[in-house]
Symmetry: C2
Subunit: 98 residues, 2 copies
């Protein structure tokens, strides 16, 4: 097979994206926190972590883009929670991989 034609498996691409989202302890902490507290806003998460608010916001953005969390505006706060559908998908992909 020619190198040019090679395509990574779709499952591997998806799994790599999830793994990347999980590859920082702050993001693991956020997910862990959200899975306990069910529903909480940015401020609570900032208080949970040793980094600046802007940095937390960036991590939240990445988790959201990876599909692992959802944000809901309730002005002036934003509530976050686990995206259960993608969470399940990620869980299954990891399980299948190992």
């Amino acid at each position: 097979m020619k190198k040019e034609d090679f395509k990574y498996q779709e499952d591997h691409l998806k799994l790599a994206r999830f793994a990347k989202a999980l590859s920082h302890p702050a993001r693991l902490h956020i997910l862990n926190f959200l899975s306990c507290c069910d529903r909480c806003y940015t401020g609570n998460i900032v208080d949970e972590l040793p980094i600046a608010q802007s940095s937390v916001s960036q991590h939240l953005k990445e988790l959201k883009e990876a599909g692992l969390i959802q944000g809901t505006i309730e002005t002036p706060k934003v509530y976050y929670c686990i995206d259960k559908e993608n969470w399940k998908l990620a869980k299954e992909l990891f399980k299948e991989f190992f």
Copy 2:
């Protein structure tokens, strides 16, 4: 709790390292390949991937440093295989996390 004193959980640090190792499709492909073929050398892996030999070597190094694979020199080749102990640990950490 003061920000200075915050420490990430040991499990999260370990899991983040494993996740980082899994965060690239080439490395997932390598691990998948190794789990099938049990034991094979660098050349086989290079043939499996669309990237240069030096790049593959770099990915192998990262997987080795993450503890997920082991290399055995059988000059002039190097055989690689899954590090079963850490593989199991990673599997359990992911399972526990989800």
